[in-house]
């Protein structure tokens, strides 16, 4: 028993490790990231606590007084400030008197602090008053604190005595790193933009699938079936080109075809139509070409699957049906199509998944435009998280959008697994060592 077992575990280990690291972990991490608000602004590692103007604005709803107070400068007569004052080589009396008379006093505004300083016995000049007061400015605005406690201690020193609840609110408002949140899902389920993208995706997947990945693929398989083998292989080779051509070049070809100085424009201008960008001028055209671009690639897999399924039908069934009087269409309708049910189901399942997830072609052709007319779910996730115009990449939201696809993907592929009964594919090893 031992040899084959150990060998098996040893041989499957590299695959398991790679799949775990780059497949399973990303699935889990997608779920984890989806529960955060990570973005370029928050960074992906931890954050700090900082009373930014934005944080103050956030606080205004819950703690208006505190928000106003925090935004103002605060002046505290403390040892730190006094030491600096002593090094300034002004009259020593300033520091001595402040230490003796005003140590620990907190002034909520510059005006109050300066009034006290002005009243010192050694009579500082206006310039000196300003200089001194600056040394005691203890505002937390825009100061960065590495820990929450540090922020709270400073606030306390500034005279803000906060209840634990208020502390929580302040901490949340001032934290610059990412936090756990379910907001992403709220945005996804309520935003009208998302509804539009969802609708786009459903439209794109179902139309492309129906017309090309299954429909046109069937057409190709059937037409090539009624040809000499050599002719058929030429056509199959042509229609496999979109799949084997690197996607960047393939989309380039379409751009050339549809560009305002491209083939269609030039061709139509012979008939007096002004040149225009046929790919991007209207949403209708954009969809037309997006579906063609993806459909031409998608048709090839179906073509090959259906062709080999047709080839698997015994020749005599075609002979018999012809002798029985079936016309070509009747042969297709009654003999071929009924026997392609499983291949059609297979291609439908498989291609639904790949259409849902693939955004290469749309990204390279329309980038989801014009406007957001051809933005589909996977592309939107990519745009949100990895590539957008505003520059703030929202990893969390993007991950949440991807998670939707991941969940759909898992469900569909489990269904797929059930339909195609993988258990029939495992045979017990015949050597029992």
């Amino acid at each position: 028993m031992r040899t084959s077992r150990t060998l098996g575990l040893f041989m499957i280990a590299p695959a398991s490790i790679m799949i775990f690291l780059f497949f399973l972990m990303p699935v889990v991490l997608t779920a984890i990231f989806a529960m955060t608000n990570m973005s370029t602004a928050t960074g992906i590692s931890g954050g700090a606590w900082q009373v930014t103007q934005a944080a103050v604005n956030r606080l205004k709803t819950d703690l208006p007084e505190l928000a106003d107070g925090i935004a103002e400068p605060r002046f505290i007569i403390d040892e730190e400030g006094l030491k600096e004052l002593e090094t300034l080589k002004l009259k020593p009396g300033f520091a001595a008197e402040l230490r003796a008379e005003h140590m620990g006093e907190v002034y909520p505004s510059r005006r109050e602090a300066e009034r006290v300083i002005k009243a010192l016995k050694d009579r500082p000049s206006t310039r000196e008053v300003k200089q001194i007061s600056d040394l005691f400015n203890r505002s937390v605005l825009n100061t960065r604190f590495e820990t929450r406690d540090e922020l709270m201690a400073n606030l306390k020193k500034l005279g803000f005595d906060l209840t634990p609840q208020q502390q929580d609110i302040v901490a949340r408002a001032t934290y610059t790193g990412w936090i756990w949140t379910t907001d992403n899902f709220r945005i996804i389920s309520s935003s009208p933009d998302m509804a539009q993208i969802f609708f786009n995706t459903a439209f794109y997947v179902s139309v492309t699938l129906l017309l090309f990945n299954v429909g046109y693929a069937l057409f190709l398989a059937l037409t090539t079936h009624y040809m000499q083998a050599s002719t058929a292989s030429v056509f199959r080779a042509i229609w496999l080109l979109p799949r084997i051509t690197p996607v960047v070049i393939y989309v380039l070809l379409w751009k050339w075809l549809t560009w305002d100085s491209g083939f269609i424009s030039t061709f139509m201008s012979q008939f007096g139509y002004p040149p225009k960008n046929y790919l991007l001028d209207t949403a209708y055209n954009a969809w037309f070409f997006v579906i063609l671009i993806n459909g031409f690639i998608g048709a090839s897999m179906g073509m090959l699957v259906f062709s080999s399924a047709i080839k698997a039908i015994p020749q005599t069934q075609f002979h018999a049906s012809e002798v029985d009087g079936a016309s070509r269409l009747q042969q297709i309708r009654y003999i071929i199509l009924p026997q392609l049910r499983w291949p059609i189901l297979f291609v439908t399942c498989y291609q639904t998944l790949s259409l849902l997830a693939s955004f290469n072609e749309i990204l390279l052709s329309t980038r989801g435009g014009p406007g957001k007319a051809t933005e589909v779910w996977s592309l939107a996730a990519f745009h949100t998280a990895l590539n957008n115009y505003t520059g703030n990449l929202e990893y969390g939201l993007g991950a949440a959008m991807a998670l939707v696809l991941v969940v759909v993907g898992i469900i569909l592929s489990l269904i797929y697994l059930r339909i195609f009964r993988y258990d029939t594919l495992i045979s017990k090893p015949l050597i029992e060592d």
Binding site: Q317, H319, A320, S321, E322, V323, D324, Q339
Partner: protein, 351 residues
């Protein structure tokens, strides 16, 4: 309906499979196309049913020229070797298919299917699918489907090849019964001489794209035109001995065996010849004694089969009622019936 092949030729690319073949099948007749594989018999059948088109020549059904007519318009029924049942349809749908594609009314189809199913004894299986049927049942379905639209011609392509021995016997008589009852003109393609002889009115025996001989089974057995025909018909097969002509007699290689034959009267001496003797004509009865040694003995139950090696090494086969007194290695002196022996020229033509 009469079938006529007139100077029919067929080639695939540059290979000529059949050249200038003439064949007539009389109305209501069942004819066997018999020959080894690759002889062109299936090609002929495919041309008759229209799946392939003749390269030249004509094919007539009755007086109708069907040479360039598609299969759909020829009104032929075909039973293929693998039956070619449509796996996704029930037996009923399979049988009704030829009517369905003609857009016949559903109740009408149902009635006709029921009738033909009763004729081939499968009326209890109509709801099944082909995969749920035994070989013999599938065969019957294929027959029913071929017959349902009352074809002018029934073509059978090795119909018994995929059946086990017992079923083969049963279906042999069954097909013959159906052909007789429907009075249809039929062509049976087979490489099995027993099938051809037991089922058909006449046999056309083919070799390398040509018909060598057409005759009734018994005429062909008793009067083969060539050594090929003689060798193809008969089980156990005929044995051949090489020799030469000498004074109106056949003399084997070393001169041990001498068989005077009327057919050799005009033949000059030393002409190379082949003598053909069927196993049943060598044994206890006959007019010429032949000495040899038993090299092989096999019992077939009712009869025994012996191979007798002559001194020159050639072998004669003998079939006799079971006897226990002979075993391999024994020397025997058995009789050969010279009037039943065939003599062939070097090119295989019978003299």
């Amino acid at each position: 309906m009469r079938i006529l092949l007139d100077k029919f030729s067929k080639s695939f690319g540059s290979t000529k499979v059949i050249e200038d073949m003439n064949l007539e099948v009389a109305s209501g007749e069942m004819l066997a196309l018999l020959g080894p594989s690759g002889c062109g018999k299936s090609t002929t059948l495919f041309a008759v049913c229209g799946i392939h088109r003749p390269t030249s020549g004509r094919i007539l059904f009755g007086d109708r020229d069907v040479t360039n007519l598609p299969s759909q318009e020829r009104n032929v029924g075909v039973v293929f070797q693998s039956y070619a049942l449509y796996p996704h349809m029930t037996v009923e749908e399979n049988i009704g298919f030829p009517l369905m594609v003609k857009r016949a009314a559903a109740p009408d189809i149902k009635k006709q299917v029921a009738a033909i199913a009763a004729l081939v004894h499968i009326d209890n299986l109509l709801d099944r699918r082909p995969s749920q049927l035994s070989g013999g049942q599938q065969q019957r379905v294929a027959l029913a489907r071929a017959l349902i639209r009352r074809p002018d011609v029934l073509l059978l392509d090795e119909p018994l090849a995929n059946l086990d021995a017992k079923l083969r016997l049963e279906m042999r008589s069954e097909i013959r019964r159906l052909q007789r009852e429907t009075g249809i003109t039929a062509i049976l393609v087979t490489h099995d001489q027993v099938e051809a002889m037991s089922m058909c009115d006449r046999i056309a025996i083919m070799k390398s794209g040509e018909i060598v001989q057409i005759a009734t089974p018994s005429a062909m057995y008793n009067d083969p035109r060539t050594s090929f025909v003689a060798g193809f018909l008969g089980n156990p097969p005929i044995s051949f001995i090489k020799g030469t002509a000498f004074q109106g007699a056949f003399v084997s290689g070393d001169g041990h065996l001498k068989v005077p034959l009327a057919a050799l009267s005009g033949i000059s001496d030393d002409t190379p010849l082949t003598l053909g003797v069927r196993p049943e004509h060598f044994g206890t009865g006959g007019d010429i004694a032949v000495e040899g040694r038993i090299v092989f003995a096999e019992t077939q139950g009712r009869e025994n089969l012996y191979d007798v090696a002559l001194p020159d090494g050639s072998v004669l086969r003998s079939i006799q009622p079971v006897r226990n007194d002979i075993k391999p290695g024994d020397q025997v002196r058995w009789m050969l019936g010279s009037d039943a022996a065939f003599i062939f020229a070097e090119n295989g033509q019978r003299l």
